[in-house]
Symmetry: C2
Subunit: 76 residues, 2 copies
């Protein structure tokens, strides 16, 4: 999530739709299947959103949902 705040600083190729799974995988150093699963969990939770483009899937932050959980945390 932190990397995706300023993706240009952390990934070689950044598109408007986000960053592709394999770039994330290289950086996070977990298996491809694990990364894919984590991304899908984050997406299910609404924290990131995906765009399929050809054989690639790009992920980027969903600031709206992130803002919501921040507000929720403020109530702690």
């Amino acid at each position: 999530m932190q990397w995706l705040k300023e993706p240009e600083k952390h990934f070689p190729d950044v598109y408007p739709e986000g960053v592709c799974v394999s770039d994330i995988q290289k950086k996070v150093e977990l298996s491809q299947s694990t990364v894919s699963l984590y991304l899908s969990i984050l997406q299910d939770a609404g924290f990131i959103q995906s765009t399929r483009q050809g054989q690639w899937t790009y992920y980027k932050r969903n600031e709206k949902q992130i803002e919501e959980i921040k507000q929720y945390m403020m109530d702690l």
Copy 2:
């Protein structure tokens, strides 16, 4: 944590040092040992603080530490 924000609203007896374990246990409906463990974990994390008084242990929120994790979450 939420209950302890306004303990008078949720517990029968509230002291300046906080709320005793057994009152929390009644409310949370978990076994005594589980509640005691959870409280000690929260304390180790710094989110609550305990005061032993005779045979009772009172717990209350540690707003300082709570504020810190809130700030941390703001960086999400």
